[in-house]
Amino acid sequence: MTQGIYDFIKSIFAPLGEYLIGSAVPVGSSFAGDIDALIALVAVFVGFWALLAYAAFFFLIFRFRARDGQRAQYVTGEEKDLKRWITYPHAAIILCDLVIVFMAIMVWYNIKQRLPEADSTVRIVAQQWAWNFVHPGPDNELDTDDDINTFNELHVQEGTTYHYELISKDVLHDFSVPVFRLKQDAIPGRVMKGWFRPTKAGAYDIQCAEMCGIGHGIMGARIIVETPEEHAAWMSQGSAGKLASR
């Protein structure tokens, strides 16, 4: 039921989301479209109120500009017929807020709160100021001999659901992949778990999104999303430990 309502509202705003965000940043994960649609929904709702407020604002400034011999009216703002100009929009805003809250929580629940079954798991180790990635290798299990370690380059397969284990060795970092619309802080002493499913092959930026010291501005990496064939090829040559160019 709630999922049905969500899907319906999302379908209305998805094209606008695709236009607003998707046109600038590729839609690279299974949930990127949800976030774009949510952004579009918020944009429409707040845009409507902003336009209305601006229209009233500029109209009043123009309409009630000072003119010779004309005095201002004495209005306390407590008159019922005037007050409803405030109370009706007030009620309507609460309604808009309810829709936004519903959609935001649905999107959040899907991305951050639930953890779907994974096809594979990668480990992401952040440190000042680089990213280390541990891929499970051909046996698809971490902490075995065939793990593939890379530096500043994460290889994943299109259409596969990944869990990530995010670790920091020193200070706070943040694993951010704009094309996935994914962001998660790494906290020393904890293992942060989450998931993503890449949907679009290509090479994209990973940025550190939390101030982590002098080298924060260079703490980038690339995520390589590969088709199954490409990924298999990479994996077969990879166990030796491929160092990124960066």
Partner: protein, 576 residues
């Protein structure tokens, strides 16, 4: 004159001694003064100097972003470490040493006694101490740039373990100086806040009821209450962070049983109410100006007051929306999404009420009025873009991008800069007895406002395109290396805006000496400060005024004048 209702501060013996009309030396008159007006000026001029420093920092790092690696005229090459410390201290200065002293301390100190018809604050010496501590804190912050290792560069939020450990931040002295400076600034404002609240509650003119208090004073008082209620946890946090830095304790160190996220809670428990601490005084200033230049009563005074209280209270329940992706329990995000969207309701309502105040007015677009109206127009953008960030789902994408940066500049710029310009252009005649030049004021206004939008609209676009904050050179990120044009536009607009500030400084100094004499009440306003001389002498009035009505009785039907000052006895009163 009726003395029956006056409060005892009016005839305290210490007060009479201070009011002896003997010549004061320069030092005791301007440096160690206990006069609320001089202390207000001290805060204001310190704030202006700090704003120039903060503006200079933004010039240096914006030039680096637009023209990476090139030597910045007047600064030199910006290194990575310097870049971090510039953005960190730009933020810190603009919030703690510009917005707070200019809006709360300067206008609060100046206006509270004058608008309630008192001769001074109830604790003048605490007031002086408050400024002195504030000045020391500003000096410590500036000194932090010149200690070995340079200024702190771990962002104005100062998250540990980065801020707690010199091994990580590489600024062993800068980090501690920064922290001590911020903590002292809090102490200064705690002292100031006690004074504000006590004075408003105890020293009002006879006849001034709660709902006769000008809105700006309510706003400053609510802000002071918010500040006092929220800063405690952060001061505790600051002590712990200080111990971590200096003694080597592990309050925020996971290896020693501490928790870095704890700091974030303490910081934002203060940090979000802090937004409203500076917002509300600016809203109050705008209310005064709109009423005066629309010749209108404030639209539903009580409702505005209640929305301000509601905003203040709700602001204590929204802090973790800064931490959605920081590793808090994901279920908590749902709660904070709801509270955050709830807070949009009173704020939206308050803005509607301000706009409604224009209805039926007789609006004169003087320089202060332009600033006040532009506050509404610009803050609206800041308000609505906050919804994208308060909604947890979309915040996953926008968190820590330039979208956030542009959003809070659309709130803090209207608050700190527009609010200050609105207030200073409006009360300048009272403060210095002369009018500011209106033409120069308008040139300065349009130059500043247009440039401001050209700085931050490009940054919204960059943020929506996934550009993260606090990165000193975007050429290091292949997906972001393009879009350099937008960065150049933003930087160019910043240069234009900074140049226009020279007009303001010139106008300020010129009008100080050559401006047209203002007289007591140049704007024909109602509130009590306009019944004192311009500038008011020490003690403000020879005889303290009485109050007979609310502050916004403009255009009352049946009266010849379209204003009705608060101290004028009702028409029916027998002539004295």
């Amino acid at each position: 004159m009726a003395e029956a209702g006056t409060v005892d501060t009016h005839d305290a013996p210490a007060h009479d001694a201070e009011h002896g009309h003997h010549e004061q030396s320069f030092l005791s008159k301007y440096i160690f003064s206990t006069d609320h007006k001089i202390i207000a000026m001290q805060y204001m001029f310190t704030g202006i100097v700090m704003a120039l420093i903060g503006g200079y920092m933004s010039y240096a790092f914006r030039m680096q972003l637009a023209f990476p690696g090139e030597s910045v005229p007047g600064y030199g090459v910006v290194s990575q470490g310097e870049y971090n410390s510039l953005v960190t201290n730009h933020g810190t200065i603009m919030i703690f040493w510009v917005a707070m002293p200019m809006l709360i301390a300067a206008f609060g100190n100046y206006l509270i006694p004058l608008m309630i018809g008192a001769d001074d604050m109830v604790f003048p010496r605490i007031n002086r101490l408050s400024y002195q501590i504030f000045l020391i804190s500003a000096i410590i912050l500036i000194v932090s740039f010149f200690v070995p290792g340079g200024g702190f560069g771990g962002a104005w939020t100062s998250y540990p373990p980065l801020s707690a450990n010199a091994e990580y931040n590489l600024t062993p002295y800068g980090a501690t100086f920064w922290l001590v400076a911020v903590a002292l600034e809090f102490v200064a404002f705690l002292l100031g806040g006690i004074n504000f609240i006590t004075t408003l509650m105890n020293s009002r003119a006879p006849g001034m009821r709660m709902h006769d208090i000008p809105m700006v004073l309510w706003m400053i008082i609510i802000a002071s209450i918010l500040f006092m209620a929220s800063v405690g946890p952060l001061i505790a946090g600051a002590v712990m962070l200080f111990m971590d830095q200096v003694v080597g304790t592990g309050f925020f160190d996971p290896d020693r049983g501490g928790d870095p996220v704890l700091w974030q809670h303490l910081f934002w428990f203060f940090g979000h109410p802090e937004v409203y601490v500076v917002l509300l005084p600016a809203m109050g200033i705008v209310a005064e100006i709109i009423c005066t230049f629309a010749r209108k009563k404030l639209f539903n005074y009580k409702l505005i007051l209640y929305t301000a209280f509601a905003t203040g209270i709700i602001s204590f329940f929204v802090w973790a929306h800064h931490q959605f992706v920081a590793g808090i329990d994901p279920r908590m995000a749902n709660v904070f999404t709801i509270t955050t969207l709830i807070i949009s309701i009173p704020i939206a309502e308050m803005l509607f009420l301000y706009i409604a105040t224009l209805y039926g007015g007789s609006i004169r677009l003087t320089t202060p009025m332009l600033w006040a109206l532009s506050f509404i127009a610009e803050f609206l953008i800041g308000g609505i873009t906050g919804i994208f960030l308060g909604a947890s789902g979309s915040d996953i994408y926008f968190h820590d991008t330039y979208f956030v940066l542009a959003h809070f500049h659309y709130t803090f710029f209207p608050i700190a800069i527009i609010g200050f310009f609105a207030g200073i252009t409006y009360w300048f005649p009272k403060m210095f007895g002369r009018m500011m030049n209106d033409s120069l004021g308008k040139i300065h206004f349009w130059g500043t406002i247009i440039a401001f939008n050209f700085i931050f609209i490009p940054l919204f676009i960059l943020g929506a395109a996934g550009q993260h904050r606090r990165i000193y050179n975007f050429q290091n990120f292949p997906d972001l290396a393009g879009m350099q044009d937008l960065r150049v536009i933003a930087t160019s607009a910043l240069l234009v805006m900074l140049v226009f500030q020279a007009i303001f400084l010139f106008n300020f100094v010129y009008s100080l000496f050559k401006g047209k004499p203002a007289g007591k009440n140049p704007w024909k306003a109602n509130t009590l400060e306009w019944t004192a001389d311009s500038p008011p002498p020490h003690g403000n009035w020879p005889e303290l005024p009485n109050c007979y009505r609310g502050p916004y009785e403009y255009s009352v039907p049946g009266r010849e004048d379209d204003y009705w000052p608060q101290d004028v006895p009702p028409d029916t009163a027998p002539a004295e």
